[in-house]
């Protein structure tokens, strides 16, 4: 592979990492509170608001069932409003964030629901407020699950990011399509796939390691 192509590959990997990491941060910032709320706002729960919970659930499901490539195109006006432009890596962060937020919210909800209900009762019994229960009990106890959820979200975002080439977002997927497929350069396609595999492996390994470190449920020897 020529130096020029390697440069392209490095640049594309940089774009992918930029889009994915910013989108992951933003989606976590939005998805975490939504997920916590979904897990605690059912009937008789900490922040009981069954109607809001149901409406939020529908919105989350609707966003999750929209195919990502359609979402990217459908929200172009919104993307332009937020990012000032609808083209480029920066603009691509908007649809990536919108797609990952409900995904993270559901994973967070599942992780929070895994926490033993007895612990909520215990904290209530010594006079903890609902917010104290969230920050001192639910989130710390769900942390291993939350870390794995975030890992899964980042891996999914790497997959999504391959599609933002459609709006000029760049990145590895875009490079693979344009050079590997349209210009018929199988070595470029292979290189893109190898880099993506390496990225996913790294993210998963780091995520697993951190999740294990914060998990105190296991016996330490």
């Amino acid at each position: 592979m020529s130096a020029e192509l390697i440069n392209l590959l490095v640049q594309a990997a940089g774009e992918s990492l930029f889009m994915v990491s910013v989108a992951a941060l933003l989606a976590t910032a939005f998805g975490l509170p939504i997920g916590v709320f979904l897990a605690t706002s059912g009937k008789g729960e900490l922040f009981a608001a069954p109607k809001v919970n149901a409406i939020l659930g529908v919105i989350v499901n609707a966003t999750r069932s929209t195919p990502f490539i359609i979402l990217v195109v459908a929200i172009i006006p919104f993307t332009r409003l937020v990012a000032g432009t609808s083209i480029g890596s920066g603009a691509a962060i908007v649809p990536l964030t919108i797609a990952a937020t409900p995904f993270i919210a559901r994973l967070v909800e599942a992780a929070i629901r895994e926490v033993d209900g007895g612990l909520i009762e215990t904290a209530s019994s010594f006079g903890a407020s609902p917010l104290q229960i969230v920050f001192k009990v639910l989130i710390p106890e769900a942390l291993p699950g939350l870390v794995l959820a975030l890992t899964l979200a980042v891996v999914s975002l790497l997959g999504y990011s391959a599609m933002v080439g459609a709006v000029g977002g760049g990145g590895l997927g875009d490079l693979g399509i344009r050079y590997g497929y349209q210009r018929f350069m199988p070595e470029m396609m292979l290189a893109v796939v190898v880099v993506l595999i390496a990225l996913v492996q790294t993210v998963q390994t780091v995520g697993d390691y951190v999740a294990k470190r914060v998990n105190r449920r296991l016996r330490h020897r």
Binding site: D116, L119, T122, A123, S125, G127, S129, R217, L218
Partner: protein
């Protein structure tokens, strides 16, 4: 002082399930500084009852007073403040797996807004009180059941509550550990003067620790009062069942199979004597044998001490036919012992 006045608790119908009346007409008072056992079968309403005391549940009608304050009328911040003076320990310990022993004990103090320095001092005190100072930095997953419950107790006592609620706190522990935990609770009651309310389905827990007892069945308080009084003269069938559990009232199988309804020549009359109270339960058989010159056979029996009173049953074999039987029965009746003839053996 904890007082229930006309308390009823009904859980409303939910998702097709009919409404459930968990408690009704609950009226009783628990004296300050006492150890009171609340005993009942599963589903009798014990858990609902204890959760009314610390405001985790609200009564449908009636009031629940703790130290003169109507807990059931409080909500929000006021309730949370009141809850700090009521500690609770749980069957499954309910420790945070993400926190060390010390950090678990610190949790209620953090919630109450204590400073870091004050928390450190108090936690060290509490670890010492429950006898696990060496486990300061251990996580719950590294500790035994007994050690976990000690952390639970330390955590419940952290904010210096006046009342400690125990919800089946020893039900998940082996008998030896149970004994150690109950001893610890007795000490805490003695040294700190904390009122302890024990929810349990185990008679042995009440027997070992409680001075007062409340027997509940199907949402009703069926008997309440001093442990010795209630168990020496159990009125309700449920109380009798619980008593039988520790007394082993059952007739041994081999004896039961040999029992006849008619007297047999040179046989024995089998009687069962209920020993209740301090009425010389321990010497009555010896004196009976000596004074009547009858060789009474001890066939089965168990005498135990509940609230300082002897309680138990003895199954005796009396040789010598009808005359001896009559003598023995009249001898025992002087002591107001309840006697029942089970039959005859050869």
């Amino acid at each position: 002082m904890v007082r229930f006045e006309g308390v009823e608790k009904t859980y409303p119908a939910y998702r097709g399930k009919p409404s459930v009346r968990a408690l009704q007409g609950i009226d009783f008072a628990i004296p300050r500084g006492s150890i009171t056992g609340v005993i009942g079968r599963s589903g009798a309403g014990k858990s609902s009852l204890v959760r009314l005391i610390n405001g985790l549940e609200k009564p449908t009608t009636g009031r629940v007073e703790v130290d003169g304050r109507d807990i059931s009328a409080l909500s929000g911040r006021e309730l949370r403040l009141a809850q700090r003076s009521i500690g609770m320990i749980f069957q499954h310990f309910n420790l945070l797996s993400s926190r060390t022993a010390a950090a678990n004990i610190a949790l209620p103090l953090e919630i109450a807004g204590w400073s870091k320095a004050d928390i450190a001092v108090r936690v060290a005190e509490l670890l010492d009180l429950v006898g696990i100072s060496d486990k300061h930095d251990r996580y719950p997953s590294e500790l035994s059941g007994g050690q976990k419950q000690r952390i639970g107790i330390a955590r419940a006592l952290a904010t210096r509550p006046n009342v400690l609620l125990s919800d089946e706190a020893t039900s998940a522990l082996d008998p030896q550990t149970t004994r150690a935990i109950l001893d610890l609770l007795a000490n805490i009651n003695l040294e700190l003067g904390v009122t302890i309310i024990l929810i349990t389905h185990e008679m042995s827990v009440v027997r070992q620790l409680a001075k007062e007892v409340v027997v509940i069945e199907a949402g009703d308080v069926v008997e309440s009062g001093n442990v010795a009084d209630i168990f020496t003269h159990p009125k309700h069938e449920v109380t009798q069942t619980f008593l039988a559990e520790v007394l082993g009232d059952a007739i041994p199988v081999s004896l039961a199979s040999r029992l006849q309804q008619q007297p047999l020549p040179h046989g024995q009359t089998v009687i069962r004597v209920q020993v209740r109270g301090t009425i010389a339960g321990d010497t009555v058989v010896a004196r009976l044998a000596r004074e009547l010159s009858i060789d009474v056979a001890l066939l089965a029996g168990k005498i135990d001490e509940i609230g300082g009173q002897h309680v138990g049953t003895l199954t005796l074999g009396i040789p010598g036919g009808e005359t001896a039987e009559r003598q023995v029965l009249s001898y025992l009746s002087q002591y107001q012992l309840s006697v029942e003839r089970l039959g005859y053996v050869g």
